[in-house]
Symmetry: C2
Subunit: 287 residues, 2 copies
Amino acid sequence: MAGPWRGLRRARGWAALAGLRARTDKFGGVSVNLGELRGSPRLERAAFGRWLRESVSQWRDEGRVAVWLHVPILQSSLVAVAASQGFAFHHAEQGSSTLTLWLGEEPSRLPGFATHQLGVAGAVLDERTGKVLVVQDRNKTINAWKFPGGLSNPGEDIGDTAVREVFEETGIKSEFKSILSIRQQHKHPGAFGKSDMYIICRMEPSSFHISFCQHECLRCEWMDLEELARTENATPITSNVAKLLLFGYREGFDRIDITMREFPAVYTGLFYKLYHRELPESYRNMT
Amino acid sequence: MAGPWRGLRRARGWAALAGLRARTDKFGGVSVNLGELRGSPRLERAAFGRWLRESVSQWRDEGRVAVWLHVPILQSSLVAVAASQGFAFHHAEQGSSTLTLWLGEEPSRLPGFATHQLGVAGAVLDERTGKVLVVQDRNKTINAWKFPGGLSNPGEDIGDTAVREVFEETGIKSEFKSILSIRQQHKHPGAFGKSDMYIICRMEPSSFHISFCQHECLRCEWMDLEELARTENATPITSNVAKLLLFGYREGFDRIDITMREFPAVYTGLFYKLYHRELPESYRNMT
């Protein structure tokens, strides 16, 4: 590309950059969305690099502590430019990424991105027969019995994941009753090195005919709960939760249940779910 | 850059690409790490684009269902090239991003990235006095009493987050006793639109002199637990957990506690923590 064109492209780059707005937040940070460049000619990397260097210098002088840069995926060549000036990925999904640069002298106080994936399984107990629904995974080296379950979808409530996963894997319809156990595991290989939270729920079946997913499961059956609690052919967590469920089945589920209540969220107008031990009415209503 | 140089650069680009290894996984996917290009001359975008198009076409013919592309942040201009061929971000952190393209005809079965941030608070109860440790946040429009707490660090256990956050905010040393409640909230503004899991733990103090963080807290005090359970000047979740804690304080903590046990993890040789209701020895040891 010859001189004049190059000059024009640079001029266009600067013009596009002039339209960018830097928004400040109440934590002393500043945020720029490169998506606002959409529709303008593709930015020259060098022009963006100069603009960014000068802007960061100015923000630093103004006492800003952090810079957030939102970048549409098709403009990712600008990510490399920002990285060469010390920016790093905060997170990215689908069509955009977010980079940060901490300007403060003390260690960064920037909040991290999501740290946990959430898996939910359902222990579906048929109280009339004392049998519980178990599966064996296909594609596993050790074919131990476990409760059907899987990863929760974004925005999905714990009980809803249990209902969905139980149905997808086994064809059994069920209803959420309580949480039985919560497991936390870090640096999980199946979670891209992040942490894994795994919750097992107590479920009540409303259908009983098994039609299991051949993709995911090798076997699926209604197994006597006491047999599951005693067998060595089950994952340790399944074995433990089977013992807990057996205790509850014999002595009362109130001994093992972590029950759910729903509350209005203050700011959003939505509801949130709170799980804890059953609280007597007299305490719930005290003021 | 004149003709011959340009040609040479392209040739170098192809040579560098020839060194890339495509690894297959047991789920039918194929994975390429552009970090293996390190040390070789910067790739020309056009050369990479041609290589990627031809490679994807070949993987599709071979019956692969998905492509994973790992890209060092300084090579992010290649992200834009991949995006123009349908790739999207799976996730990114610090110095690299991961993109995916689903090749299957059915809906994508690729696992998502972490969906939850985890916050942990500590309800520190001095059993001798019946007083509990509460704070009011600085920078909040409504200054309601709450339990000290904050986001867990990557790889940090629930109880450890509670101990750390209580100490950082109030100067009080404490020990984890049990989980009291779990709240799940979606599309959380403070979690970059992801879900928030918020756990409140019962803690036992081992020091009593408050020295609170002026950065984060406006007020901090030991408050009578019954007063906290009755006051309107507390967040709804604080109020509920105060009532629960009061119930436990009067009737026995075994009525409210979700206790912790540690187990060896099968594959990693590490330990994981499982939280559930207390299980009698006779059940724990049954075989």
